[in-house]
Amino acid sequence: MSHRTAVWITGVGAATPLGHTYDTIADNLLAGRSGVRAVTRFDASEHPSQIAGQIEQVPCPPEWDAAEFSQLIRLEQLTLWCCITALRDSGWWERRREVRIGLALGVGAEWLITWEADGLQGGRRVYEPTSDSESLVHRVQRQLPISGPVISVSAACASGNYALAQARRWLELGWVDVCLAGACDGSVTPVALAGFGNLRALSRRNADPCHASRPFDKGRDGFVMGEGGSVFVLERADDARRRSARAYAQVAGCGASSDAHNMVIPSNDPEPATAAMRQALADAGIEPSAIDYINAHATSTPVGDAAEARVLQAILGAAVHKVPVSSTKSMTGHLLTAAAAVEALTCLIAMERRAVPPTINLDDPDPECDLCHVPNQARAQDVRVAVSNSFGFGGSNTCLVLQAV
C-alpha cells in the first residue's frame, strides 16, 4: 500500500565506533576502516568474546553541562547527542518549541542496561522500583523539550526501521509536524557481553579484533558487538520544500514481517524475510532491478549471513550479480538495537558520496552467499535507491527503502 504523503529525512545525528559526525563516519566507512578493538572500558578477560565496536566518549551537546552529562548512562548520552545533533542539522533546534516534534526511538533493553549500570557501581536500583519513575524517551521529551508524542520501540536489530516507519505514519496522519526517529544502544557492558558470548553468538577472534567481523566470509565465526546510535529528523516533503530544507532522502518504503520460528535463530524458510523486502519495495513502487545498493543485515554469523543471501537471491533474481551488496557491520560491529538506524545512515552516505561502502574482511566469500559483493574497498556508484535490511532476534524482519530526492 502506498502512503499519501512523501516524507523526507532532513537532519541526522549519530555516534558510532567510526565517529560522531556525518562526515567523519562517511570518511571512515568509505575508507574501509574498522572500529572494532579490544574491550577497554571494563575487564573482559574472562569473557568468551573480548572485542567490540566501542565509543570512547560520547560528545556532550553544547547545551548540556559536561559534568552532568558525564554522569548519565551511555544510552542516555547517545540519545541526547543524536537527537540534538539531528535537530540542529535540520534547522529545527532553535524552533523546536513552535512545532509538534515527536520521537520514535528504538531502545531494546533500557531497563536491563540501567539496572546493570547502577548495580555494577554498587547501587540497588533494581531493588527499588520507585526509582524507575520515568523512561528515557519521556525524559528526553521533557529535557529537550519537545511537545509531540514519544514512544520506545524494540524489534532487536530491526528497531530503527520500525521507528522510521512509525514516524512516517505519524507524519502522514498529521499527529506531528516533525518527528525524530532512530535508535540507540549502549549494550557493550559486562553482563550483556557475557550474555551474548554465552549464547555463542559472538566472534571469539580476540587476538585480531579488526578482522573479526567478516560478514559473508567463509571464516566468519559470529558477530562483534558494537554501541552507538543514529537519529533522523523526518518531516513532510511539502513542509521541507517550503522552508528549503536540505533533504537527505525520502523514506520511500517500509516492510516488516516475522519468522515465527525461534527467538534467536533465523528461519530456514526465506519466505518471511522475502515478504518484508517485497512489501517495502511495493510500498516504494520500486522494482528490484532499480535498486542501486543493498546494505545487508549480515552480522557475520554462519547461519544468518547464508539465510539472508537466500533472501536476496530470491528477491533480485537475475539481478543478483549486478546489485551491489555490502555489510557495514564489518566495520562498525553489530550495534544491536541501533543497527538498522546506523545502516540507514550508511545508505544516506552512499547516496550523497556516490559510493558504496565495502564489506571489509571479505577475503574468501562463502559460496553459499553468492551475491554482488563489494569486498574490502568502496566502489564508486550512483545510488538513487538504497535498501537496508535488518533482521532481529525475536524473528523480526524489516526492510527500508530510501530514495534520493
Binding site: 536491563l112 555494577l120 521529551q141 521533557r142
Partner: protein, 316 residues
C-alpha cells in the same frame, strides 16, 4: 538556511479508531505462575515457555483467553501483527544476573537473559505461539507503556498493512522487589491485558478505541500538567466499565499528556465517524479539550482536568 514557519497547511490531524474484536485479562499471583507456564491456555510445544519471563507467561495466557472469549479459535493470525508492552520486564532476572555475575563472573550469565528479557521478548514469543508472520514489536517497557503501545498500534493498523493486531500489555502490581536470587513474594500479582484489534467498522457495537492527537500549529507548553499513568490495571477497570455500562455511548477519556487523548467506548455512534479530522482547542496548559464540534457523550470517567467536567476517579 534558517527555517521559516511557513509550513504547508498541514493535514488535519487524523483521529484513528480501532475496534476490539476480543479481549483477555489475566491477574495471577507469583505462586500461580509455574502452573500457568506449563499450560497458558493454548496448544504449545513442551517447554515452550521454559525460559521466558513471568510477564510473557501472563501475556500469552491473556491472548489465549481472548481467543476463547472472542470466538477466534478458528481465526488464522498468519498475517496479523503483534505489539507487546511490558512494564519493567526482567527486573527479577536482572537482579539474579547481577548477583551471579558478582559471584561467578561472565560465565554465570544465562544465555537466555537477553532474548527473553529484551523489550521485544513478549511480542516475539506471541508471534511464535500464534504463527504470526506480520510485524512483531515491543513498545514502551516502562511507565506509560499502555499509552505508548496504543499510539503505536492505532497508527500501524490504520496504515492498512495488517488485517489485525494483537496488543498485549503486561505488568506487576505493585512492582515487586526481587531477591538477589531473582524471586518475588508469592503474593505479588502479575497482570496482562490482550486486545485483538481490527480496523474500525461502522456497524461495530463492541469496544472501540479512538486516539485523537494534538492539534497542529497550536502554541503548546509541554507537560506543565502532570499526567496520570494509564496502567494495565486501570485499563482493565476502564474496559470493564465501558463494556458493562448500559449506556450505549459510555465513554472513558484518557489524556495522553502530549496534547492528545484516547477514548474507550462502544462503537456504533453515528455522530463519530471511525477515522476523521477534527477541530478543537488546546488549553494553554497543554491539556486538550474535547472538540466542541463533537456532541458531549456521557462519560464514565476521565483523567482530564476538572475544568473539562471530568471525574477524578483516575487521579492518583
Amino acid at each position: 538556511m534558517k527555517p521559516t514557519l511557513e509550513m504547508a497547511a498541514p493535514p488535519g490531524a487524523c483521529a484513528v479508531s480501532v475496534d476490539v474484536a476480543a479481549c483477555g485479562t489475566v491477574r495471577v499471583t507469583a505462586d500461580m505462575l509455574p502452573a500457568l507456564r506449563q499450560q497458558p491456555g493454548g496448544s504449545l510445544p513442551a517447554a515452550f515457555l521454559k525460559h521466558t519471563d513471568d510477564q510473557t507467561v501472563a501475556g500469552l495466557a491473556a491472548v489465549y483467553q481472548a481467543i476463547q472469549r472472542g470466538g477466534l479459535t478458528d481465526t488464522s493470525f498468519t498475517h496479523w501483527g503483534v505489539l507487546a508492552a511490558p512494564r519493567f520486564l526482567g527486573r527479577s532476572a536482572t537482579a539474579s544476573a547481577l548477583h551471579r555475575f558478582a559471584a561467578e563472573g561472565a560465565w554465570g550469565i544465562s544465555p537466555h537473559l537477553i532474548p527473553h528479557r529484551s523489550l521485544h521478548a513478549i511480542s516475539g514469543t506471541v508471534s511464535q505461539a500464534l504463527h504470526i508472520h506480520g510485524p512483531n514489536l515491543g513498545v514502551g517497557g516502562g511507565p506509560n507503556s499502555v499509552t505508548e503501545v496504543l499510539l503505536a498500534a492505532t497508527a500501524l493498523l490504520d496504515g492498512g498493512q495488517v488485517p489485525g493486531l494483537w496488543v498485549v500489555m503486561t505488568a506487576w502490581d505493585p512492582e515487586p522487589i526481587p531477591t538477589p536470587q531473582g524471586r518475588v513474594a508469592p503474593d505479588s500479582q502479575c497482570g496482562a491485558v490482550a486486545l485483538a484489534v481490527v480496523p474500525s467498522r461502522c456497524d461495530w457495537h463492541g469496544l472501540r478505541i479512538r486516539l485523537s492527537p494534538p492539534l497542529p500549529l497550536q502554541p503548546i507548553t509541554p507537560l506543565e500538567v502532570p499526567v496520570t499513568e494509564l496502567t494495565i490495571f486501570g485499563l482493565q477497570q476502564i474496559l470493564a466499565a465501558v463494556l458493562e455500562n448500559d449506556t450505549p455511548s459510555a465513554t472513558v477519556i484518557w489524556s495522553l499528556g502530549s496534547g492528545g487523548w484516547i477514548e474507550f467506548r462502544r462503537g456504533g455512534d453515528a455522530d463519530a465517524p471511525a477515522n476523521s479530522q477534527r477541530n478543537g482547542s488546546v488549553a494553554r496548559n497543554g491539556s486538550p479539550h474535547p472538540p466542541s464540534s463533537v456532541p458531549v457523550r456521557p462519560r464514565i470517567s476521565s483523567n482530564l482536568p476538572e475544568s473539562n467536567g471530568a471525574g477524578a476517579e483516575n487521579q492518583r
